[in-house]
């Protein structure tokens, strides 16, 4: 338990850090943010009104205190552009991002682990070399490029799937595939290398000496050990995807957090930018804590090592 409490505590510290960062963001912008917001033609009166509205005429500490108090009450402010509460805007978009991220991670996990297991089983063979070459390619290919390629191929040339229209299952396939394939490459590489290493361990020889079949050795003894680092990577990728896959969402016109953030930035909608940053941060930290928790489930040694590194 100490292990998890530690993790939750450090997660809270990180979130406080993010909140400070996102709060001061508005003050880091050179010049008067209100004037930038309203444009050059705004009257002084308009500027003064918005400054008061945003609370920017108050001392910094008071502003931060108000911000923290409001945030804790679930009030992330009001979007300047739409006039709707920031939290409502975010919560409206979040399910879409979650849908995309979940589909992407599902593809990445299934594809990555399968390819990794096959590569490890046929280590050094043509299949192994081919899949590991793809894994290297996948790490170096930019997401937007792959996105454009799959649109070209499946939508334009073959006409199988729609281009950027709605948020149905058919619309989900291409962006999820793009994300999934890219994320799978690291998973497959990690699974393969982990398995190869684990299979040379003494306890695998013990399992063979018991009379266990190779397939069972792989599933029962090797894979679970090899997946320990893979779970971390899947968790981090999930967190990254939930934080809004800004570019992929933009390319596929997917109405998630990523497009919301880009819209907010391009219209200088400060409360919305602040709220999105904080929200993404909280999601990221939460996923990380969940991964740490999952660790204790998969690897019984983790709990112990946190209690004084025995």
């Amino acid at each position: 338990m100490t292990y998890l409490l530690n993790r939750i505590f450090s997660g809270i510290i990180v979130i406080i850090g993010i909140s400070i960062f996102s709060f001061f963001l508005i003050h880091l912008i050179p010049g008067d943010p209100v004037r930038m917001l309203l444009g050059q033609n705004a009257t002084n009166e308009e500027v003064a009104r918005l400054t008061t509205y945003l609370g920017l005429d108050q001392p910094l500490m008071v502003q931060y205190k108000d911000y923290v108090v409001n945030t804790l009450q679930g009030d992330l402010g009001t979007s300047i552009k739409t006039g709707r509460p920031v939290l409502t805007e975010i919560l409206e978009r979040f399910p879409e991002t979650m849908k995309l991220a979940a589909a992407g991670i599902l593809i990445a996990t299934v594809l990555g682990i399968s390819v990794g297991v096959i590569s490890a089983q046929y280590k050094g063979s043509f299949i192994d070399k081919l899949s590991m070459t793809f894994a290297t390619l996948g790490v170096s290919i930019p997401g937007f490029w792959l996105a454009l390629v799959v649109i070209m191929l499946f939508s334009v040339k073959l006409g199988w799937l729609p281009i950027a229209q709605g948020t149905g299952i058919r619309d989900l396939i291409l962006p999820a595939m793009t994300l999934g394939v890219l994320a799978s490459t690291m998973i497959s590489r990690l699974t393969r290398n982990g398995l190869v290493e684990i299979l040379s361990n003494d306890f695998v020889r013990t399992a063979r000496a018991k009379g266990l079949a190779e397939r069972m050795i792989l599933i029962r003894h090797a894979l679970r050990n090899a997946l320990i680092p893979v779970v971390t990577v899947i968790g981090l990728q999930m967190a990254a995807l939930l934080g809004g896959t800004v570019i992929i969402e933009q390319v596929f016109n997917w109405p998630g957090l990523g497009t919301l953030a880009i819209g907010a930035i391009s219209t200088r909608d400060f409360p919305l930018i602040q709220g999105t940053i904080l929200f993404m941060g909280v999601v990221y930290v939460t996923i990380n804590i969940l991964v740490d928790f999952l660790y204790t489930v998969i690897d019984p040694r983790v709990e112990l090592s946190a209690k004084g590194g025995k």
Binding site: D202, F203, T206, A207, R208, A209, R220, R224
Partner: protein, 325 residues
């Protein structure tokens, strides 16, 4: 004594990038029913490979030839599937390093239970009962608790006891113990050896005990096979070997074990090292380190010849003939 396992002309070769290397070369020995047979020799003499060859656990690169007769079948001719039925059930094995021989993320109960699951029909509850019984049998206190524990919570000696419990779970006819106490503290070593000896009597198992420690041999074994550079150089009953070793290598081993007190109180050692597989000379493989070396030793290899009913020796000094190569 009727024999349960007969090894004849066992050769094991590993294929590598630079060609094939024969690590075990024409090994013959017999294991009697209810006998503890020691296989001794320095590191790299092929003891472990011999034992892995019996169970066909060499991996893709190892290949054995010869005959390993067990229950009227030649193990080297069995399919992989048939071998899986034999491993653990008829012939089981424990290894040198108990620390790394258990899976770190499965409970002790699961790992021992798996052995029963593979080879016997038993419900989950029966299996659990049997595993707890086994844990008690190998002298593990609080067996019910340990059943649910993970290996990292156990000491080395306890882990080796768990390995032993696993190995005897299906009442195997033969237990191969590959340096079972080498990684353990001296005080624990004696306990584990006592346990093995007790179990051997109780279950009427035959044990092949691989070791480099003649003290362990003296304590445990009925007969001994001395291996050098992939070959058997001497077989004898333990008493005879320790009292009057024949082969110069066996002599060297017995003297360096300082079981025999010597006057200048210095530890004896055999000069030089075991030649690497692939670098064996065409003569006697021990010639370069032998203090009794003759001209003939460098020219041609001696055969393993019978000195009396229980003793064989591979040495020109004892009337060996030229070995067929």
């Amino acid at each position: 004594m009727p024999s349960i396992l007969k090894v004849k002309g066992l050769s094991t070769t590993f294929s590598g990038k630079h060609g094939d290397t024969t690590v075990v070369d024409g090994v013959d020995f017999e294991l009697g029913k209810g006998e503890i047979l020691g296989i001794v020799g320095e590191s790299g003499c092929g003891k472990s490979v011999t034992s892995l060859s019996i169970l066909q656990l060499l991996g893709k690169k190892g290949e054995s030839s010869g005959v390993i007769q067990f229950n009227d079948m030649n193990l080297l001719e069995q399919s992989e599937k048939a071998m899986r039925g034999i491993r653990g059930r008829d012939i089981s094995m424990i290894f040198q390093d108990p620390m790394s021989s258990l899976n770190p993320i499965l409970t002790i109960g699961k790992q021992i239970g798996e052995m029963i699951e593979i080879h016997e029909e038993a419900s989950g509850a029966e299996r659990k009962l049997k595993v707890i019984g086994l844990l008690k049998k190998v002298g593990i206190p609080r067996a019910e608790e340990i059943y649910r524990e993970y290996p990292h919570r156990l000491s080395g000696g306890m882990k080796q006891r768990v390995m032993i419990a696993m190995a005897i779970a299906c009442n195997p006819a033969v237990l191969i113990a590959d340096e079972p106490t080498t990684a353990l503290d001296v005080t624990i070593q004696a306990q584990v050896l006592d346990l093995l000896k007790g179990l051997q009597k109780e279950l009427n198992m035959s044990i092949i005990l691989i070791t480099h420690d003649l003290g362990v041999v003296a304590e445990m074994c009925d007969r001994v096979v001395v291996m050098y550079a992939g070959q058997v150089v001497e077989t004898a009953d333990t008493r005879t070997l320790l009292r009057s070793p024949k082969h110069p290598y066996a002599k060297g081993l017995v003297h360096s074990a300082s079981l025999v007190s010597n006057e200048n109180k210095r530890l004896n050692s055999i000069p030089g090292q075991v030649p690497l597989p692939g670098q064996f000379s065409s003569g006697c493989r021990f010639a370069d380190r032998c203090e009794y070396v003759l001209d003939v030793c460098r020219r041609s290899q001696p055969s393993l010849s019978k000195l009396d009913k229980n003793t064989t020796c591979r040495c020109w000094l004892y009337g060996s003939k030229e070995a067929v190569q």
